[in-house]
Amino acid sequence: MSDEPTTLKMVEGAPVPMGPGTESDLSLPALPAGTEMVNVIIDGRAHQVAKGANLLEACNSAGANVPYFCYHPGLSSPAVCRQCLVDVKGQPKPVPSCYTPCTDKMEVTTASPRVLDIRRQMLEFTLLNHPIDCPICDKAGECSLQQHYFDWDAKFARNDGVKVEKAKAVDIGKHIVLDQERCILCSRCIRVCAEVAKQPELTMAMRGDHEVLTTAPGRRLDNPYSLNTVDVCPVGALTSKDFRFASRVWELTSTPSVCPGCSTGCNIEVHTGKEEVKRLVPRPNDKVNKYWMCDEGRFTYKRTQTDRLGVPFVDGVPTEWDAALDQAKARLQSVLDKNPGAVGVVFSAQSTNEDLYVAAQLAFDHLGLKRAYLAGRDQGWHDDILVSADRNPNTAGAIAIGGGRLKSLIDLSQDLKKGELKALLVIGEDGVLAGDAGSAALPLQGLEALVVLAWCRDSLVDSAHVALPLAAWTEVDGTFTNKQGFVQRVRPAAPAAGDSLPTWEVLGHLGRRLGLAKDFTSARSVFLEAKQKLAYMKDADWGKTSLPVHLRFANSRG
């Protein structure tokens, strides 16, 4: 209760501002300390921006919604589309805001009648030769052209409708199909190939209204980052062969997650439609992957949809969970009773930190096993852009949790040959131990108890005594640690395949039967416990609970 009367100001508008840009938890990255700030007046209101900041970004952060096609925050700015023209006081002509750095006391008008008219005219030019493909174009629903037309140009066509004809549905690369008529010549894709992938495979040819996008002579669009051009293309000129006609965008739900393809851990969005993952797209993260991801990473979701182990198996016979867990316990217990030193456990660098934490609790703290190994996919090619040689998402986490006790698969192979192992508990199998990746299979015939927790069915699962199905990375809550040491969250985007369960949950059930008197209630509770005990996780953040975003409420991306 204050003593003086509070003067209430009349608000013009709704009590709770809603709409784009009003989310209260919109967090922009903090500017480095010591950045010089300047005052810029945008549409009559003063804003503080960093000196030299991009005027387009400044206007849009202020809510001006200036449209643009060729600009992209992760690429150089050529100012070719002329869609972002705004009026700056003192300049005779309107300036392209994407190419203008902010200076002190700059006065910008983003919606004067002249600017609005220019904006509308630019859109009219762009649409002049645009084919009427919306019903069959994949980009419909997330198309910048549709969005900007609807926002800034709501007029009907003035021309006679005869349009220039160019090539349609041209196969220009391993993953990409080009439609030259839809292309609005913004050159974003050319810059992605040149600046991000460092392989300039695309170029413009011809001129005037016959100008087309095409591959450079003698080349195809084959660089390992080619699918980023599909993301940045504002229209449906470049489409992914994998996603072509697979789903309409507004039927998809977006869940933020992390790519498990390699230890870079690019941040991604998993787009699911009808409870199936349809595609992966990159999510901006300044420290890890900027705005990009590699093509191989985009297809990692396919592994979660083929050959999944859906039910527990005991000696090749599908069984109920309880019976299978009892059998697993019985087999392991019989070897533990006779010869505890002959029981081995294999961790996987593809498991989440939570899975590994529970596994370590069970294997080391409770069962006191001495023979532990780390399995992971083989190394692959790498470059200095995004792809790491280590093709496992959580090697850092596995090594940290293992605490130096984990030996390699070569040691496992030798121990098996020497006959020193009688029981093996494999936590997380995906073709690695089965030798599907090309390396020789392990000699597992002498084992009395082989309990395999696997995501997919392979020869190892078929030969296991007890096989328990695991939910894949698109179906669980958890965290991966990338090679930089960042602990990043994965979220469930699709329902678990068959009857599979998350690894930590399966280990919890198995552990209880083996006498581990502990309850693991959720991935989050495991995370919080691990965060307290493990040094490398002490700065990790579980993140907020959020509802999956229906893409049908979103406008165009990028």
Binding site: M1, S2, T6, L8, K9, M10, P15, V16, L547
Partner: protein, 166 residues
Amino acid sequence: MAKIILERLAAAFTGGEIEQIGTQHGNEWARVRRADWKRVAQFLRDDPTTKMDFASDLTAVDRLTREPRFDVVLHLYSTVKKHRVRLYAGVPEGDCTLDTVVDVWPGMNWFEREAYDLYGVRFTGHPDLRRILMYTEFVGHPLRKDYPKEKRQPLVRRSGLPGTLE
């Protein structure tokens, strides 16, 4: 169309009971502090300048990502002065309660029951706070944004609840 109501509220309540006032599309609205909900309601009904003797509608809005999560919205009308106002009270998810206005306008009885049924806001002092549109055994509050639209909840009979047999 009814700025006089807002002026009167601002003049009569100076201790922070009225958190915000505004107008949009010709609708005047005021945000009331949760603890003072009934006092402000009674004032609006009895004050000769405002004379809001008719309550049109009471409902709730789920703001989801904001604090407080729910807004209880009350629409008032004066049959004498012919002006309207909308009142908001922010109700947090953790302590989802608000005073009832049934003793100020008896017609709000069923409207508050509906807000309880569909959003889970409990109105303290309501004479008969039970579900009205959903069946008694229903679990959850369906109009909340995190209740999935396609979720099916077949009726499972339970006894001992008000309104059920036995």
